[in-house]
């Protein structure tokens, strides 16, 4: 299966989407529960980590990045990299 064949590689099964949906719902419950516990400075970090896991699931499964060619993954990583640069440089300016 060296040659990438998007349409035939897909299993066309409903199961994976339902499982991912359940995972997303569970993660939402977790993030709400953690926020309610009020561990102060940990809450923002955990909330963002959980949000990132959820976004990763949506990107790879719902948006099919997992079965797209590598070029798509590189595209997304480059876009995120530049957004990341904006944040890093902004806070390099602001925090000190």
């Amino acid at each position: 299966m060296e040659k990438h064949d998007y349409y035939h590689e897909h299993s066309h099964s409903y199961g994976i989407y339902i499982i991912v949906w359940l995972a997303l719902m569970a993660l939402t419950a977790v993030t709400v529960a953690v926020a309610g516990m009020d561990i102060d400075r940990f809450t923002v970090a955990t909330a963002l980590i959980i949000a990132s896991i959820k976004a990763y699931l949506v990107l790879t499964i719902f948006m099919h990045l997992r079965s797209e060619s590598k070029a798509f993954v590189v595209f997304v990583l480059v876009a995120l990299f530049f957004l990341g640069i904006s944040f890093v440089l902004l806070f390099a300016d602001y925090s000190f």
Partner: protein
Amino acid sequence: MSSTEHTVDAHVHRDDVGSRMGMWLFLFTELLLFGGMFLIYSVYRFEYPEAFHLAAKELNTIMGAFNTAVLLTSSMTMALSIVAIQRNQKTLSIIMQLITIFLAIFFLVNKYFEWTAKFHHGIYPGSEELLSKGSGEILFFGLYYVMTGLHGLHVIVGMFLIAVMTRMTRREIITKDNYVRLENAGLYWHLVDIIWIFLFPLFYLIA
């Protein structure tokens, strides 16, 4: 548009990979649009941490969590509609698309009630009640209205986009062998979902 990717029909010239890549490129511009706002949010959050905590108490966490669930579910039904069309189950695909549209409307109705409740409490941009608060809280609510408002606008656009896809599916313009339009509408819808995944904790869960 020069090559046929799949040997569906030797006469059809189309490039589904190129089409999806074009959609992704568009999504990156959306990423930067919202990214800029997240940048502003993070700076002001950094400047006024206490005020942001205080202001976030005004938001209804249950309502926010509920709307998150609605949007996540709509993302799943959108993904399922694509599987259905891949399996040549036209009716099921249409039903899934209609459920997605219904959930989008449901999300907007919730948002409407949420916003009007805020308005009744006198919290809206430029209101006396809001202007009497500290600048950190004014900034929080300004960002809240702009970011959830712009997101809501995307939900409306996505809803209409999916409605067009439903029409095309019914008319068999979108079929088992040619459903890249439906996929692209799905990509847009999932991006709207991802943005909400970040908006929700940053506005509703920091109290």
